[in-house]
Each structure stands twice: as C-alpha cells, then as structure tokens.
C-alpha cells in the first residue's frame, strides 16, 4: 500500500519569502527550510505520495526524477525522525 506523508499536529509553520520556518512544540526546536525543502514540506498534506511529490519537484526545479526521489526520501526520513511528519497508509487517513 502507498504511504502518504502528513504534517504532525505538534508543530506550526509559516512561509516567509518562500522559505518555511517550522517550530516543533515537543522539543522547542525550530527549523528553517530552503525553497526546495519548503516545496516538499508544503506537499506533506496526506494527499501526495513520495513519488508524486518527487514528480512535482521535477516540474518545478531542474532535477531528474531519480535525484528528486532520493532527495525527497532523505528529507522525509529526517522530518519523520524529528516528529514533524508521519506516514499515512492511504489518503483516507488510515495509519
């Protein structure tokens, strides 16, 4: 079954000048994402799979699908590790 990344509720973010500022309420750390990171982060809405986000990334930036997929995977791993994103097993919300 496909997995859909979605932002957790323990954080808040604002996009300022195309770059996201994220605050994790659990540990009080905050993160600054560059424009590519912000693009991926904004698509973590529980409706896009990793492959779909990578495909969008290819449309938006000058990057191959393979590289985009790898970057998405690495970035997502970090977001999940920090508790900022979690996986859904389907777009219906089941985890």
């Amino acid at each position: 079954m496909e997995r859909y990344p979605i932002k957790t509720t323990d954080n808040s973010h604002r996009v300022i000048d195309g770059e996201a500022i994220l605050v994790n309420f659990q540990d009080s750390f905050f993160y600054h994402l560059d424009s590519v990171g912000t693009f991926i982060w904004e698509h973590c809405d529980g409706r896009h799979t990793l492959a779909q986000i990578a495909a969008r990334l290819v449309e938006e930036y000058d990057v191959t699908l393979e590289k985009a997929l790898q970057d998405c995977r690495n970035f997502m791993e970090r977001l999940v590790e920090q508790g900022l994103v979690q996986w859904r097993l389907g777009p219906d919300g089941s985890r």
Binding site: S12, H13, R14, I16, I21, L22, V23, F25, D27, S28, F29, F30, Y31, H32, Q82
Partner: protein, 364 residues
C-alpha cells in the same frame, strides 16, 4: 535546527533586525544593507519561530474562550505581528494582551488556571487589580508565557468608564489571529492605545511603540478616521500624551499623519488638572523609581471615589501583601510595617512635591 529556549532574543535584536530589513527594502544594493544580512535574517527567523510558539498558545487559549462563549479583543503585540506588520518575523512580542469584559474575569482566570497558568501578581488588597484594569497570568514551559487579561486600556489613563469601554467593543474589527476568528481594536482605538503605551514607556521601550504607531498609521492610511480619533483624544483628555507620542513617532518615521491632527494637538489648551497630571507623570526621570508607577496610577485613575480607594489600598494593603512585599515572617511585626509604609509614602510624596516646585521649567 535551533533551540528556542537557548536562543535568547531581546527587543533590541528585533529593533535592529527591523531596521536592517527596512534598509534592505529601501536600498537593497547599499553597503550597510549587504552587511550582516545573514545575521539579521537569522534573527528574524528566530523571531518568527518564537512568535509561532506564542501564537500556538494563543490559539489554544482563544479556542477555550470561544467554547466558553467569551469574546476577546487581541491587543498590541500579537495583533500587530499577525495583522498590521507586513510579516510575522517583523514584530517581536513578549506577552499576550487580551481585552475582556470585566464581568467575565472570574471565568477567564479559571480557564487560564485550567490551562496551567498561575498568577504571579499579588494585588494591594483583594480586588486591587481593578485599579490597573488588568492582571497577569504566567505559564512556565519552553518559554515563560505571560497572558495579561485587560478590561480597559491603560494604565496610564486606565479608562474604565462603561460607555468608553463599550465603545471599544462596538468599534472592534473581526479578524483571524493564530488561526482563530477573533477581534482587534478599531484603528482609532488601536492608535490611541499605542500612543498611551508609548507615553507609558517613554523612558525605556518607546522606540518599539513608535515603530508600531508608524506601521499602524501606514497600514490604516486609507481607513483611519482622524476626526473620530481626535474626538476620542479630546473627550478623554489625553491630548498631551498623544501629542508627545505622535511627535516622537513623526520625528523618527514621518508616518502620514494629517497636518490638522498635529495642529489641533499643538493648539490644544489643556485644563489645569489635565496639565498637572501630564507634568507630574512626565517629570519623573525614571519610571522604575519607587512610587513612580503608583503616582502615575493615582493621578490617572478616573473619579474621586476610585482615587480615594486606591490611596487607601496603597497605604493600608492587605496583611498578605505586607508579609509578601516586606518579606515578614513574623505576623506580629506586620502592624509595625504599616507605620513604616505610611512614613515611606509620605516621604515619597514630599519628595515628589519638592521636585515639582523646584523644577518650574517642567511646568509650562
């Protein structure tokens, strides 16, 4: 990744980063704009992150109030950062100020207590916070979060008159703050509030309030009803502090204040008491000296009965306040401290009068 708890931000960092941002917008190629650009951008990101944390807390509080059917007007910092400044990173705020109706205060305090907040303020006498028309509740977490429920604007000039307070609610505007539907003051009341705030902090953080006034005036340039603003200022006998604040702001930022406003404020002939209050407050060299805030409040608290009430509370506070204020562990000594307090208060009054008489240049 930065830890907010460790990132110590001060109001001064905000002002410098705001100045740098403004310069970058106006002259992006200039040498000063290029200098330390990374550093100031990082500071602005920290401000945004800190504000997000406070707004998350505000979100929680506003939702609880909404569930309880309590209406709230979000004042100052949070309202300015979310609604008036062009971006969240451009306005640092340290606490959350909310206007509520006096009659819902017990309910508001219960909600705050249930959310983990506690009062760190001991009034002179039970109910003594009514003189200041606000109280403060604090929650110690990642950052200490202070929520101040107000039921009138000020001090100084805590206008608790029912008709005026009702006007604030009637003029309030619907908005969304921290993702919740809520209210902010109408532009004219907002401006008056900021002017009184600048006057209150004229010796310390007045630059912050001056920035706020300049940004607010520009934000509401097309809709601010200056005639209505002047009507309120005159009706509330606040021409002198408002003139002081607008002049200071104008000297620095030249916001689009209509000429007739400054002219009317300049030509205003204050009454004896209005002038006396302004002079007595303004002559204080340091607002942090003992008795300064009390004198300010005594002079501006409206009505003779409330002034007498405040004086009584000042001279004869509750035994609990005395024990706490003077660190008295033996209850038998409290009575003696009442005499000490009386002597202190009289001495401060005599000193204040002496300064007033021998500084005639200030009375003009």
């Amino acid at each position: 990744m930065v830890n907010l708890e460790a990132a110590q931000l001060a109001e001064n960092d905000w002002l410098q980063s705001l100045a740098h941002f403004t310069l970058q917008e106006a002259q992006p190629q200039s040498e000063i704009a290029q200098e330390d650009a990374k550093k100031w951008k990082a500071v602005r990101r920290q401000i945004a992150a800190r504000n997000l944390l406070l707004l998350e807390e505000l979100h929680r509080v506003l939702e609880e109030f909404d569930t309880a059917g309590i209406r709230v007007i979000v004042l100052k910092g949070a309202a300015l950062a979310e609604n008036i400044y062009p971006s969240l990173e451009l306005r640092f705020f340290g606490d959350i100020d909310l206007l509520i109706r006096r009659e819902v205060l017990p309910e508001v305090l219960k909600i705050l207590t249930d959310l983990g907040y506690a009062s760190e303020y001991l009034p002179l006498r039970p109910g003594g916070e009514d003189f200041q028309a606000h109280t403060a509740y604090v929650k110690h977490g990642v950052l200490p979060i202070v929520i101040e429920p107000h039921w009138a604007l000020g001090p100084p000039y805590p206008f608790t008159d029912r008709r005026y307070v009702e006007g604030l609610w009637q003029g309030a505007r619907k908005t969304k703050i921290a993702g919740v539907d809520t209210l902010v003051l109408g532009p004219e009341d907002f401006l008056l509030h900021l002017c009184l705030h600048l006057f209150k902090h004229r010796q310390e953080t007045w630059l912050t309030a001056a920035c706020d006034i300049a940004v607010l005036v520009r934000h509401y340039q097309a809709t601010l009803d200056w005639q209505a603003f002047m009507y309120r200022v005159k009706e509330l006998k606040t021409c002198l502090p408002v003139r002081f604040s607008l002049q200071k702001t104008f000297e620095l930022f030249q916001p689009p204040i209509p000429a007739f406003v400054m002219q009317q404020l300049g030509e205003h002939k204050p009454g004896f008491y209005e002038k006396l209050v302004f002079v007595l407050i303004n002559q204080q060299e340091d607002r942090n000296t003992r008795g300064a805030v009390s004198l300010e409040l005594f002079l501006t608290v409206p009505g003779i009965a409330r002034k007498i009430g405040y004086l009584w509370a000042m001279l004869v506070p509750s035994r609990e306040f005395m024990a706490n204020h003077y660190g008295i562990s033996n209850p038998n000594l409290i009575t003696a401290y009442y005499f000490l307090r009386l002597k202190e208060t009289l001495w401060l009054t005599v000193k204040g009068l002496f300064k007033l008489i021998f500084k005639p240049a200030l009375v003009r």
